[in-house]
Structures are given as C-alpha cells and as structure tokens.
Symmetry: C2
Subunit: 213 residues, 2 copies
C-alpha cells in the first residue's frame, strides 16, 4: 500500500493509533466527503470556507467564480492552504461521559494552489465533480459555454502532504465501568438522499432519470 510521508504537519500526535497515511484510504475518504473546508492565512489572520471538491489521481480540485474573493486571493498570492474533509460515521456512547466519542474519518491536506488554465483539465475537473455529487448526471446536462468557462475558476492542489485520522468500533470504557447499568454502543450516522423533488418549472413530460430512482 502506497503511503504518504509523515511530516511535522501531518503527523497525528494525539492518539497516534488513529493516524492513517495510506493513500487509498485517504483517497476513499476524499471521494466520499461532500465538501471540504479550505483554510488559509492572510497577514497572520486565519480564514476558512466550505466548498465542494473532487479528486483526480493525486490532485484535489475546487472551483468557484472568478469573482470569488478568496479564490482570487489564494490564486494570485499563491497562499499555502490547509484543506480538510470529514465524514461522521457514528455516535460512540460509553458508560462514562469522559469516554464518549464519535466514529469518524477525516483528512487534512497541506498544499499550494495552482490555477488551472487548460480547458481540458478544467472540463475534466467539473465532469468528475458533477459525477461525484450525482453519478450519471454529466451526460444529461447542457455543457458550459465559452462565457461560462471564462467566469469559472478552478484551483488544483497536489495531494502530497496529507494524513487521515480515523476512529472505528465500540466505546472503550474504564475497566471498572463495564459493570454499570448503562447502555453503551454505537449509533450509526449516515448522509441519506431523500426523494428528489422536481423544479416547478420542469418541462412537461420530462421524467425522473434512472440514476435518481
């Protein structure tokens, strides 16, 4: 299994047994997470913003409007960023308040932005992003016009300095607490898709596509 190198920034120092540096494990978290937060620092002040993203090979892509202040800011100043994505898998209910926890998978990545200028790479990034959010969608939709491409900014981050932190399994209580009359276990958490509801302005006769059924 290919691993990311452990650096000063990515080493999991608190509960190191939860640290994961395996590339496939990290990529699978990124491919499942619906959004990431992008943090950067400007004049010593931290900022962050939630945003959609996708991954292609060892590159993470975010996109936005060319009018987006933060995207212009990090692109033009080539500011170092920290990206993170988190999936919550369950509430871990222990017998003691102290040992309550959550099961989760989170990734943190450090890197610098590269503004994508080749249309082919931009196209691919938007296609993969759309397919990540809704598999099957890209083939159906009207593709971007030249003007739409001009108003879209895509930033790429090479995933080189990255680690994940993962907790799984049941609660871990203190030995003497296992005899308590307190229920303990895990409540799974999952993001579920509800029944799609059509736009009121949907053209008559257009049916719900198979990939949404």
């Amino acid at each position: 299994m290919a691993q990311f190198p452990i650096t000063d920034k990515t080493e999991i120092t608190r509960l190191p047994k939860r640290g994961v540096y395996d590339k496939d494990a990290i990529y699978s978290i990124l491919d499942e997470a619906l959004f990431c937060t992008l943090a950067y620092s400007n004049n010593g002040e931290p900022f962050q913003i939630p945003t959609g993203f996708c991954r292609i090979a060892d590159t993470l892509y975010v996109h936005g409007s060319v009018g987006s202040f933060y995207m212009r800011e990090i692109a033009t100043k080539k500011l170092p960023v920290c990206l993170s994505a988190t999936i919550m898998d369950g509430l871990v209910l222990a017998r003691s308040a102290f040992h309550h926890s959550v099961n989760y998978r989170s990734v943190v990545i450090f890197g610098k932005p590269r503004q994508v200028t080749e249309k082919e790479e931009m196209y691919k990034a938007l296609e993969v992003f759309t397919e990540k959010m809704c598999p099957g969608r890209w083939a159906d939709v009207r593709k971007p016009t030249d003007n739409e491409w001009k108003s879209t900014m895509v930033l790429a981050f090479t995933i080189a300095e990255a680690s994940a932190k993962v907790r799984t399994g049941p609660p871990k209580d203190d030995e003497e607490d296992y005899s308590m009359d307190v229920w303990a276990g895990v409540v799974p958490l999952k993001i579920t898709h509800g029944t799609p509801f059509a736009d009121d302005a949907l053209k008559a006769g257009v049916k719900l596509p198979s990939y949404l059924q």
Copy 2:
C-alpha cells in the same frame, strides 16, 4: 431580530443575497451541525482540525485533551481562530452544468480562545455538548472524576464576529434552458441515525434507553 454586525471579515461578498447575519438563524445552524472545523495560523502557515462543539448563549465551546497539541497551541498563544460549520441540505440539479449547486447552511466565526478554568462552566459545556449529540444521554452516564476533569481542556469562543451563508430552493437556470428535456430539481440530503448496536461487552440485562428508540 438581533443581528451580528457586518465586518470586513464576515461580509458575504460573493452572492451577497445568501448572506445571513441574524443571530437566531446562525445559532440554529450551530446547534444542528455535528462538528465544526477550527482553523488557525502559526508563523503564517494555516492549520485546521475538525472537532465537536456546542453553543451556550453567545459562546461556542470545544473540548479536547490537555495533551492536544493544537489546543495548547491556540490556548497559550491566544491565537486568533476561524471556526466554520456546514450543513448540506440538498443537491441542486440544474439543466446546465454551470448552474448546478447545493443547498446548504454554513456559518463562519472569527474569535480568540479563552481557556475555561471554572469547573462549573466546564461541566455545563460538556453536559450541553453531550445532550446536543444525544439528547437524554447526560442523565445516564458516569460523570467525570477529578482526574478526568484535569485531563480535559475546554476552550470558549465568544460568538461576536459571525455570518452565515445559506442557499435554499430550486435550481436557477438560464431562461433559454428551461425548455430543455433535462430533469431539474433538488435531491434532499439528511444525516440520519441508524439502528443503535450495543457494545459486545454490554452488561447482561441492560436495555436500550428510550431516548435511542
């Protein structure tokens, strides 16, 4: 409705109609979100970490181990932080790739940490946090011992500089695209709780509590 003042940092400049500064709206997002990301900057380098949190009145609390590097770092250096929490409400499927979006509610807060030293405030923060994650739980569990208190760090952030960004509703397409034979609408997203599963080491006879049924 009480509003947060709009500052240089919290003003929503991109799609300002999505900007929300109403306190109750921001608090309700914070009370629903299961985790936040806490970003800070050290020597110009951005860092961020996902963490659980809760809100009491105008204060946001996070907690962790006194052995947590990042918590000690921001507490001792009183580093400015940026906190954000996001709830994904739906996939917004437009007729054009360009107008695809998501319905979401996100909050961004700027502030400085205050380390909580009064046991009463720490206790209240952990109680409210536990009850946020699992209403009804606090009454059931073994409360922290003195040693557990000593190994827990709670940081408080006054919610004073904050804004939210919210998108709701159907896709908004270009006028000429409404006649296309493409399904458009919203796929709701929701975090759901699965069936709880008991710890293998659960004491015989302990039943699933009513608040988990």
